[in-house]
C-alpha cells in the first residue's frame, strides 16, 4: 500500500513543489474505543506513545524535531498526554513493522504513533501510522506528506492534525497561521506592526513596518490576504495586503472621517467595515472588484466589529443603540437587527464560529473582562476567561479553540496572546517575543 502511495505522492509533490500533499485520503474508520469527544467533560488526557520517528534516509535532526512538533501539538491541546520513552517496554523495530500491542497496553498507552522521515536534497517526506492499542489495530490508514525541508514544522503539524482528527472526529487546527499586531516600546508610545506566525508562535514574519499605527488585522478566508486598519493616511483607514508580497494598499471605503474594523466576506470578494462620521459610526460593505459600497446600518449609535456567519448570510456586530455595547444579528444585506445579548455588562467584538454554532465575544462586567461564547440566539452564554483585560477573540479553524488578547495592568503592562478551548479549559499563553495583540486565526493550510 505504502509503495503505491509513494508513487502518487511524488507526482503530486513535483506538480506543486511547495504543497504538502497527503498521500492517501484520511479514511477514519470506525473509531472503536479510541475516541475523545471534545464536548464531553474530558478530565484525564488520553495517554499516547510517540517513539521518535525513524530516519528513513538522510533525515538527520529532522526526525526528532518533527516528532517533537507532533508531541507539542497533541499535548498542547490538553486532551492528550505523552508517555515518556523510559516507560516503554519495547520499541518498534522499524516503521510499519509488527506492533507488540501487549507491551503498549501494559503501560496504558491508548494510542501509538509511529513515523519515518526521509530527506532527499531539499525534499522532505514524512510517513506515519496511528494504532489503537486496545483494539489491536490501525486507526485509519498510514499517511505520507512531502514538501520542502524549510516547511518541516508543517509536516509535524500535518501528522498531528491527522491524529487529532481521527481520535476526536473534529477537524484539525495545527497547520494554520495567525496574523497579529506585534507591539514594542513604552505604553504611551507603542510601536505596532503586523506579524504573521504559525499557530504555536513559530516562524514569525512581519508584514508591515511600525511607521504607521496599525490595528486589528483579519485573514481572508483562504489566508492569502490580510485586511487591517492603518493610520498611514493620517487617520484610520482600511488597507489590504497580500501575505506573499506584503505591500499594503488602500481599500476604497464609504466617505467619512475614518474607516476601520474591516473583515472579509466568506468568499473573499467583499469587505465589511465601520465608518465614523459626525460622531456616528455605521457598518458598510465594499465590493473589492468594483469598489462600490453600500450602507448596512443606519442608526445614530456606534455600530462596529462585524463578523459574517460561515454561510455568509448574516452578520453579527456590536451596537450601543440600547445605551451600551450589546450584540446584534442582521441579514448580510443589512436591515432589521435582533439583539442577542441580554446579560449584565457590556458585550463587544463578536466573532462567529467557523462551525456556525457559537458566537465568541468580549464581555465587560463589574470591572472585569471576559472572553465568552453563546449560541447564535443568545442562549447558553458561557464565560471562558476572566482578567483585568481580555478582548478580541478569534476562532481556530475547527471552532474548538479560541485565541484572544490578554493585557496586564499598570505602567509596565502590555498585551499577550492566549488560547483557551471552547469549554474554558487549557488556558495557555501563545509564545511571542514581545507584546502581541489582535490575533486573527487563519484557515487550515492546504
Amino acid at each position: 500500500m505504502l509503495t503505491r502511495v509513494f508513487a502518487i505522492l511524488s507526482a503530486a509533490a513535483l506538480a506543486v513543489p511547495m504543497a504538502l500533499a497527503p498521500a492517501a485520503p484520511a479514511l477514519a474508520q470506525d473509531g472503536g474505543p479510541l475516541r475523545i469527544t471534545i464536548t464531553d467533560g474530558v478530565i484525564e488526557p488520553l495517554p499516547f506513545a510517540l517513539p521518535s520517528f525513524f530516519d528513513g534516509g538522510g533525515a538527520g535532526q529532522y526526525a526528532s524535531d518533527i516528532t517533537q512538533v507532533v508531541a507539542e501539538d497533541l499535548t498542547g491541546t490538553g486532551l492528550f498526554r505523552r508517555i515518556g520513552s523510559e516507560s516503554f517496554i519495547s520499541t518498534p523495530s522499524g516503521f510499519g513493522g509488527q506492533v507488540s500491542y501487549a507491551d503498549w497496553r501494559a503501560i496504558n498507552a491508548q494510542a501509538l504513533i509511529t513515523g519515518s522521515v526521509a530527506v532527499n536534497g531539499n525534499q522532505l517526506t514524512v510517513s506515519f501510522r496511528l494504532y489503537d492499542v486496545f483494539a489491536g489495530g490501525e486507526l485509519g490508514e498510514g499517511l505520507q506528506f512531502s514538501g520542502t525541508t524549510d516547511g518541516w514544522r508543517r509536516m509535524g503539524h500535518k501528522v498531528a492534525d491527522a491524529v487529532y482528527s481521527r481520535i476526536t472526529g473534529e477537524g484539525g487546527y495545527f497547520d494554520s497561521r495567525v496574523v497579529f499586531v506585534a507591539e514594542s516600546g513604552p505604553k504611551d508610545d507603542r510601536a505596532r506592526r503586523i506579524g504573521i506566525m504559525d499557530y504555536d508562535g513559530a516562524n514569525v514574519q512581519y508584514l508591515t513596518d511600525s511607521s504607521s499605527l496599525v490595528l486589528a488585522p483579519r485573514f481572508s478566508p483562504t489566508g492569502d490576504r490580510v485586511l487591517y486598519t492603518s493610520y498611514a493616511g493620517g487617520t484610520a483607514g482600511v488597507r489590504m495586503l497580500n501575505v506573499a508580497a506584503p505591500a499594503g494598499q488602500a481599500v476604497p471605503t464609504a466617505p467619512g472621517e475614518m474607516a476601520f474594523t474591516p473583515r472579509f466576506s466568506q468568499n473573499g470578494s467583499q469587505v465589511i467595515y465601520s465608518v465614523a462620521s459626525g460622531g456616528n459610526t455605521d457598518l458598510y460593505r465594499t465590493d473589492l472588484a468594483t469598489g462600490s459600497h453600500s450602507q448596512l446600518t443606519n442608526a445614530p449609535s456606534i455600530e462596529t466589529s462585524p463578523s459574517f456567519s460561515p454561510d455568509g448570510s448574516q452578520i453579527v456586530f456590536e451596537s450601543d443603540r440600547s445605551g451600551q455595547q450589546q450584540l446584534y444579528i442582521m441579514s448580510a444585506s443589512g436591515g432589521e437587527a435582533r439583539r442577542i445579548s441580554f446579560g449584565d455588562g457590556r458585550y463587544g467584538s463578536p466573532v462567529w464560529s467557523p462551525r456556525g454554532d457559537l458566537i465568541a465575544f468580549t464581555k465587560q462586567n463589574a470591572g472585569r473582562f471576559h472572553i465568552g461564547v453563546m449560541r447564535t440566539d443568545g442562549s447558553e452564554e458561557r464565560l471562558l476567561t476572566s482578567s483585568f483585560l481580555d478582548e478580541s477573540p478569534t476562532w481556530a479553524p475547527n471552532g474548538r479553540v479560541l485565541m484572544f488578547t490578554r493585557e496586564t495592568q499598570g505602567a509596565q503592562g502590555g498585551p499577550s496572546l492566549y488560547s483557551v478551548d471552547v469549554s474554558g479549559r487549557n488556558l495557555q499563553r501563545v509564545p511571542t517575543d514581545g507584546f502581541a495583540s489582535d490575533a486573527s486565526w487563519g484557515p487550515l493550510q492546504q
Partner: protein, 180 residues
C-alpha cells in the same frame, strides 16, 4: 504640580514622541511640538505646522495649549461636554476666532477600559462633540478636523481611575495652513 507645569511636561512628552515616530499624531503632529534640537518638526504630506511661540504671547499656540487649555475630559463611556469643558472650549473658540490663520485637529481618545474597536468609535464621538461645540461658538467647521486614536495613545500609563480620567480626552491641536 500646577496645571501650567503639567501642560509644559505634556508638551515636551508629545514633542519627544512625535520625533521618535513622525506619524505619532498623524497629520496633527506638526502643530504641537518642537524637536529636541529646538527646530520645528518637519511637516509630512498634508501636515499643517505652527511655531509654538511664547506662552506670554496670547496669539501663540503655546498660549492656547497652556493658558487656555488644549484638552477637555470626559466621563466613562460618555461624550457629553461638561460645564468645566465648556469653559475651556469657549476659550478655545475665542482664540480660534481671534487667530483666524490657524486650523485645528481635534484628537479623540478613550481609556483602556474598553474594547479596542469600540473605543475608536468612542474617540471619534468625543472629538466630534468638541468640534460641534466649537462650531456652535462660531468657529468655521472647515478649520476643524477630527481624528480618533481610541485607547491606543494614552497620556497616563497607570491602570487606575487617576490615569483613566486623564486619558478620556479630546485634545485640540493647533496647526497653521490648510487642513488636508
Amino acid at each position: 504640580m500646577n496645571k501650567f507645569t503639567l501642560a509644559l511636561l505634556l508638551t515636551a512628552a508629545l514633542a519627544t514622541s512625535a520625533c521618535t515616530r513622525p506619524d505619532r499624531f498623524g497629520a496633527g503632529a506638526g502643530g504641537a511640538g518642537m524637536d529636541p534640537n529646538g527646530g520645528p518638526l518637519t511637516a509630512g504630506a498634508g501636515v499643517g505646522q505652527a511655531g509654538l511661540g511664547g506662552a506670554n504671547d496670547p496669539s501663540s499656540p503655546a498660549y492656547f495649549n497652556q493658558a487656555i487649555g488644549d484638552r477637555v475630559l470626559f466621563s466613562v463611556d460618555q461624550s457629553t461636554i461638561s460645564p468645566e469643558a465648556q469653559t475651556v472650549l469657549d476659550g478655545q473658540a475665542q482664540w480660534l476666532l481671534t487667530n483666524a490663520d490657524y486650523q485645528a485637529v481635534i484628537e479623540g481618545h478613550a481609556d483602556e477600559q474598553g474594547t479596542r474597536e469600540y473605543n475608536l468609535a468612542l474617540g471619534e464621538r468625543r472629538a466630534n462633540a468638541v468640534r460641534e461645540y466649537l462650531v456652535s461658538r462660531g468657529v468655521p467647521s472647515a478649520r476643524l478636523r477630527t481624528v480618533s486614536y481610541g485607547k491606543e495613545r494614552p497620556i497616563a500609563v497607570c491602570s487606575d481611575a487617576s490615569c483613566y480620567t486623564q486619558n478620556r480626552r479630546a485634545v485640540t491641536v493647533i496647526a497653521a495652513g490648510s487642513l488636508s
